[in-house]
């Protein structure tokens, strides 16, 4: 698997995630402006923000998967270390530390 195909897939997934996240935020913001008290607008906004935060994780996951296929073990170890750190951040957040 060449580095070019890695970047191509990286971009496609990134564009999709940015688009869906932006759509959720626009819709949520529009509903919030129309009626700030609706729970649906809050749900949309929260979904948009969570997807926004998930996008960089997706990029790291894709990088890891592609490098496993190309047996680039040093890069796999690097991306795995970053993923572990992100998991630690998520755990710390869940503990509200």
């Amino acid at each position: 698997m060449s580095a070019r195909s890695l970047e191509t897939r990286f971009a496609w997934m990134g564009v999709a995630a940015v688009t869906v996240s932006a759509a959720a935020l626009i819709a949520g913001l529009g509903l919030h402006l129309a009626n700030p008290d609706t729970s649906f607008s809050k749900t949309l906004l929260q979904c948009g923000l969570v997807l926004l935060m998930a996008t960089p994780v997706l990029r790291v996951l894709i990088s890891t998967a592609e490098r496993v296929r190309s047996r680039d073990w040093i890069f796999v170890a690097v991306t795995a270390a970053v993923l572990l750190e992100l998991a630690l951040s998520g755990w710390l957040a869940s503990q509200r530390l």
């Binding site: 932006a22 919030h32 923000l49 960089p56 951040s89 710390l92 530390l97």
Partner: protein, 278 residues
């Protein structure tokens, strides 16, 4: 905390657009412009401003990473390696922000940005590139076509340890202030590690979203990310970053460096002022 009104949402949307444009051009995420506006200008608590800023940093980074122009300059191997210390720094910064006095943080940040601004001004005419394209860039180096000079640029990575250390420091700053760690990484990668400005900016811009994720979930779960305000900021940044990516290849490298030095000097003065007045 000001009341969330339609006017306020549009002010934050406009501020996000300006921040996103400059952030995409400079590879510093845009948070550096939003923090003073939200905190000093609009009266939001520092942690709320930081939480919103983190979301805009991630949005800018996502947009830059998805753009075709950016991918030509992106050095993914180097960028991901630098994320190991950067994300660790982000986590430490988010945990430290509750423990350090705010005035101390402002003084440290003002000093750091002032030093980097001086470094940038002092290296306006340095190129840090290998113009012999037959030279191998090495494991972590790269090559790209530079439209300005009309030739291929090849570069090697020097002083990797320094780059890792600066990334760690950039991560801590990201976790403490909600500003993309790129504010430190771009000038350091350029001045000390031999990465051309555009490659350093593109790589950093694509990676600061990962750095921000070291602290963003912690801010989010603490309740420092107010969803409608963050959404307005993010939408503005996404619009502005598109304009920034259009301007970036049409700006000469020297002008880009001067602009960045000016931005850093202004940020330094703002935080110095805040440390004095409290």
């Amino acid at each position: 905390m000001p009341e969330i009104s339609v006017t306020l949402l549009f002010v934050i949307l406009a501020a996000g657009a300006v921040a996103g444009c400059l952030g995409a051009m400079l590879g510093i995420g845009g948070g550096v412009f939003l923090i003073p506006l939200l905190n000093v200008g609009l009266g939001f608590p520092m942690r709320t401003a930081s939480g919103i800023s983190l979301m805009t940093v991630i949005a800018t980074s996502n947009a830059v990473a998805a753009s075709a122009d950016s991918r030509k300059l992106l050095n993914l191997r180097l960028g991901m390696l630098l994320q190991i210390p950067a994300v660790a720094g982000g986590i430490i910064g988010a945990l430290l922000v509750r423990r350090l006095p705010v005035g101390t943080l402002y003084v440290i940040f003002a000093a750091i940005t002032a030093v980097i601004a001086v470094v940038m001004i002092g290296r306006l005419d340095r190129r840090n590139v290998i113009l012999d394209t037959s030279v191998e860039p090495g494991t972590l180096g790269g090559r790209f076509f530079e439209g300005e000079s009309g030739r291929e640029v090849v570069y090697r990575v020097r002083r990797l340890g320094t780059g890792l250390g600066v990334s760690f420091a950039g991560g801590i700053v990201s976790g403490l202030f909600g500003i993309g760690g790129g504010i430190l990484q771009v000038p350091a990668l350029n001045a000390w590690c031999g990465i051309p400005m555009r490659a350093a900016a593109a790589t950093t811009a694509a990676m600061i979203g990962v750095t921000a994720l070291g602290s963003a979930p912690i801010y989010y779960m603490r309740g420092h990310v107010i969803a409608p305000l963050a959404a307005a900021g993010v939408m503005g940044v996404l619009l502005g970053s598109r304009a920034g990516l259009w301007f970036s290849p049409r700006t000469n490298a020297k002008g880009l460096k001067m602009l960045m030095a000016g931005v850093l000097a202004a940020v330094s003065l703002i935080y110095l002022y805040r440390s004095v007045v409290g």
